[in-house]
Symmetry: C2
């Protein structure tokens, strides 16, 4: 029935408590990375973090709230490098700028491919209204707007959405095959997006 509570319950004020929260989040990330959602249990998180289950629920109102924080942190990180890439791209021709954005996404996703893939899935399942996600979308739309004259697409917002989906899919697919060369992945994504976008 009721929606799942996702926002952290209570802010840790003492340094000791901040450390507890970090150790819990680290354990959660490691479990999600190693075993995916299947063995991601609150008991396993507490055990791996070396705290009692009660401590987990003191700061996180639900299992999903743990995932939500990991998603937010990941998005904040992606936002930082994508904003930087977007700024660099401003003085570049279309394809060089596109390459900058693609490169930022690859580096982010390829750092921890298994974790990112799971977070991604949960991101679409959970009703997060994340500000970083909206700024990421806005950065891509701004890039597209800048080159709109050369582009085939008219709905820039939908195009930005499709770009993110395509980048994620091709990075995940490469990671699944065990590929690790960012250069080769970059080239393929740029080719696909150029075909999608250009007039």
């Amino acid at each position: 029935m009721g929606a799942v509570a996702l926002s952290p319950r209570k802010r840790p004020v003492q340094p000791r408590a901040q450390a507890t929260v970090e150790v819990i989040l680290t354990a959660a990330a490691q479990l999600l990375e190693r075993d995916g959602l299947a063995r991601f249990t609150t008991n396993a998180v507490a055990a791996r973090a070396g705290v009692s289950i009660g401590s987990v629920y003191q700061y996180f109102p639900s299992k999903e709230a743990l995932t939500a924080v990991l998603i937010e942190r990941s998005l904040a990180e992606l936002e930082r490098s994508l904003t930087q890439a977007g700024n660099d791209a401003r003085r570049m021709p279309f394809e060089a700028g596109l390459r900058k954005l693609v490169r930022a996404a690859i580096q982010h996703q390829l750092a921890r491919p298994a974790l990112e893939r799971t977070l991604d899935f949960e991101e679409r399942r959970l009703p997060l209204a994340d500000a970083a996600a909206e700024r990421i979308q806005a950065t891509i739309v701004a890039f597209l707007k800048q080159h709109q004259g050369q582009l085939w697409v008219s709905n820039l917002s939908a195009a930005a959405h499709d770009m993110q989906a395509t980048m994620r899919a091709l990075i995940d697919a490469a990671a699944e095959r065990g590929e690790r060369s960012a250069d080769a992945i970059e080239q393929r994504i740029v080719r696909a997006l150029r075909g999608y976008l250009l007039r």
Copy 2:
């Protein structure tokens, strides 16, 4: 520790039992479609199917075995329409053939987008060795081989894998935005794949 058992446990021989298995699978599909993995419980499946939980476990050794059968059926269906499309494509130039394949994938995925997306996620989580999936891959590789002279890609197997990932991503993204026009989706996917593939 041990791997999850995925193959059906026992074949229903009497018509009554075949009906039981079907009603269980239908309930499972409806639950997955409506609520995703979150509320997909064996108890809910049994209740919705109107059978006892014992009956579910008589035919399926685990919850994942239910999902596995749904995945296999979905792949078998996609294989049928993709094989047909591949045959039609044989007498066509590259882009018309590509369009045939893309159209088949769209029609399959857009029929039940939410269900297909969840099955897709589980497909990569579960250790399925599905024959239909390999024939789908082979069909796409065969198509690529036929036009290899015009193509930029050298690793046809990786390219076929990327094509499937791209198609799924762009169909899912469109479905997520509420888009329902197969024509518009087709055009965007064909543009992206043409850019990816062509020299």
